[in-house]
Amino acid sequence: MGYSDKVRTLYQEQLKALQDAGIFKQERFIHSAQAADIEVEFPTGSSLKKVINMCANNYLGLSSHPDVVRAAHEGLDRRGYGMSSVRFICGTQDIHRELEQRVTEFLGTEATILFPSCMDANAGVFEAILTADDVMISDRLVHASIVDGIRLCSAMHDTFKHSNMEHLENKLQLHADKRLKVVITDGVFSMDGDTAKLDEMVALCEKYDAMVFVDESHASGFIGKTGRGTHEKCGVVGKIDIITTTFGKALGGASGGCVSGRRELVEMCRQKARPYLFSNTIAPVVVSGVLKVLEILSKSTERRDKLETNTAYWRQGLTEAGFVLKEGDTPIVPVMLFNAKLSQDISRDLYAEGIYAIGFFFPVVPQGQARIRTQISAGHEKHHLDQALDAFNKVGQKYNILGKTKQEIIDMYGM
């Protein structure tokens, strides 16, 4: 037997080290559908508690929307449960083709290819389109899935300081001799909630003959006037060469992702991207749900408009209460606490008040930048936000952090 006591002990010690370091992750079991109001079993085995969810990526409140659920049911009835195949053998239905066309129209690109997740899209795209003659230049705060995709690619890799266009220009000059150059960024950065300067980035890439890659996972469906994403907000629709995004957040929240962009790049992914070639097709039930989501969003901006109003109300409420926030205008609103233990204590106390919001600390965010990341949804009503603001106020008072500066909080609790 290969799994000897010695091996078991080795892993037990590694897991204990995670627990001792306070970075052991525990799941909380939700006994209801995803929504603003959820019922949670936490700690495991305890009775159910009704709480307001302030940490879902359900930005548009579509995860349990009745029209989406109905469309998914119909898809299940008409196209079955699974395909038991990758796309290129016998896993492509008419609705997969239809979804790729709809996403292309929605994002304003030339073509789209579906992936089982955006994690897979990011893991596969660079290797499919670049070689050792090329260079990838990425923002230093891009998502972990992009970092993994970069690691899997033979092209040279370099970074530029977060959203620093002068530094990016230096890098474009430094790597001018490379065959192909790709500048890589998130549209909206998931931990800080800030937005990439895509207009400036596109101008630089045109000047230095580089392609632009943007991960729009925290933007598709609600950023920009009609929710097309960061490229719409920055006025560069049609000028982004590669967009990756997910259907697992605002666009219904189930699963799946895609690469969308220049026709040839998408076709290269269809021929060479390993997560596409060697992983199952997206289930018909999910494809049917996402098609309905895009139909809803193409008819009306009502939901992204409500999200914008909710976000402004939430930011204003927290600011007036005296919390230190990361600046921005997206529905990702980080409440800065700086100290890891403080973020865990406040998260626990908020939960006791009926508010579900998670504390993040190193290594998920840089050392000394612990926070509670709140995420607003169009599924929140004003009474949800008011109740959450009351709870944040109460807990903030308890820890005496309201109206305090970053330095004052650090002086009280340390980094």
């Binding site: 970092v147 970069i150 040279m156 890799h157 370099d158 970074t159 300081k161 430094l174 790597h175």
Partner: protein, 81 residues
């Protein structure tokens, strides 16, 4: 040599340090100290090659050889004609 040290130190500060970072010196551990990650070493290598008109083989561009400004100077000098 002093010029080279100052030039490389300035590059490392401009390239890798944030505005509120602690000061660093010629012997500050860069890689093992977490200031420069292995991903970002590539720009340092390219900078040295362009600046001093040398070619550093990948097998010589190890984390150990790049771990301080003084060590980097030693490496560069080994390839200067």
């Amino acid at each position: 040599m002093e010029d080279m040290k100052e030039i490389i130190l300035k590059y490392v500060i401009d390239e890798y340090l944030e505005d509120d970072s602690d000061e660093i010196g010629f012997d500050t551990p860069l890689i093992s100290g977490g200031i420069v990650d292995s991903f970002s070493m590539v720009s340092l290598k390219r900078f040295l090659e362009n600046k001093y008109k040398i070619s550093i083989p990948d097998e010589k561009a190890t984390p150990e050889a790049f771990d301080s400004v003084n060590k980097i100077c030693t490496l560069v000098n080994a390839f200067l004609k």
